[in-house]
Amino acid sequence: MYQEIILDHYRNPHNKGLREPHDGEAHHINPTCGDEVTLRVTLTPSPENALDGSATVSDVSYDSMGCSISQASASVLTDLLIGKTVDESMRVLDEFTEMMHSKGVGEPDEDVLEDAVAFVGVSKYPARIKCALLAWMAWKDATVQSMQSEPRGGGDGLEGAS
């Protein structure tokens, strides 16, 4: 289960460290082991200035404490979702969640999941699924929150993410 990609992200996490500005933030804890993640999302409204599925996830940053799987999964998440629309991101989330519950059977969609397919092996270890999903669940909460926030005006998001 410890694919090289996972270990790489674990050793050199991307986008770690909380950043400003942000539209939504979520703090999730894994009650069975105490692992924690705080994750922030910044959205850029669509050209129509809507904070809906067509908005862009312009930044994701996080701070976390946890095992290799939870750390690497947070890092891969940021790589995958930054720059995608909310709708596209939710599709990735669904695909990732489904893979995590696949018990290692079935073919994850590599086009959608990219590096995240490395986590397919984790799905064979039920006790670790929560680790892999921790950041994703936090991302979902933070994004829903962001969509309910006041749009900070076009462009801000991208600037903030730089």
Partner: protein
Amino acid sequence: MTERELGLLDAEKLREDFEILSRTVRDGRPLVYLDSGATSQKPRQVLDAEREFYERHNAAVHRGAHQLAEEATDGYEAARATIAAFIGAQANEVVFTKNTTEAINLVAYAMSNSATAGEEHARFRIGPGDEVVVSEMEHHANLVPWQELCRRTGATLRWFSVTDEGRLDLANLDELVNERTKIVALAHQSNVLGTVNPVRTVIAKAHEFGALVLLDAAQSVPHMPVDVRELGADFLVFSGHKMLGPNGIGVLWGRPELLAAMPPFITGGSMIGVVYIDSATWADPPQRFEAGVPMAPQAVGLAAACDYLSAVGMENVRAYEHALTGYALKQVGALDGVRIIGPVDGEARGGTISFVVEDIHPHDVGQVLDDQGLAVRVGHHCAWPLHRRYNVVATTRASLYLYNTFADVDALVEGIKAAQRFFGTGPGA
């Protein structure tokens, strides 16, 4: 008539799965087990499933990251899904308890605990002026916890009567269930009368006033198809040991939105969100209500029992028991000096037949039956108020299950006659 004629269920064949049914008692008499209402016997398949768990997969569930712990957790959660499906529910709506009694106490204590729990549990608060409704035919397990809830909170206990024929008396339904009613706790099937109650009527009335309904299904789930969505209750409880499953496991089914709004009952490990030295938060249901290392092997055993019953078919179980009960009501009811306490017709009633034999105390009836290898129960069957209602101190109860035969009923009839002869009462005395 033999059960073969039904073509539905071959009791003789099923009996081979129950090792204990081939034993003898009291100087070599073959055992005739007519006490399944107290606890059922267990088929080999159930005992094997439990043993296999211990010998292959035993570990603390939801607590380890090693292979055994994973297998144990999988087994436990798969069992939950099987048991949930057996009553038409989703897995996350099923809470494991040690028995029906704990399941009822869980709901009753959640209600009193909500007084000091957060606003999110306000739905369950109860206090002076509020009412709890039960019936005169309740098992103590579905009566005393509500008496105690009322004592703790100042709420008022009210109850349905039963008719002379052994039916729930709905005459004052409109008066009993009203805007003060917080919860109605009612037997789905009586463990003394056999009566199957018209629960839909009561549920509909209770829901008019936003009251909750808990069904004590300890005597129904083992004997008939039960679908929680169809019934429409809010909570439903039953025990594994009365439905071919192991002792030490019971089930609380609850509507998910209600479980989610309920504060916990027993607290400790595995039911928490975050724990600080002076405060804690709760996990989501069902975990919130399952503190401590659970009875995983028993859950696996109960799932095997559900599989066994499903393979026979619960419709077949019901039909077979219905035929058997009809026969027993006729045969026992025809005896001089014997009075059946409960409906004498087979409609809307299960295979529990309680009776009194004129001038012979139930203890003495039971003793004579026991001497002939018949295992029945004597006493008030944990339904003392019901016995008082019928002006009897105790009754003799024969309770049937899928492994009983028409020959067992004949043996019962012969046994009662023998008791009458022995004590010089009854016909010919």
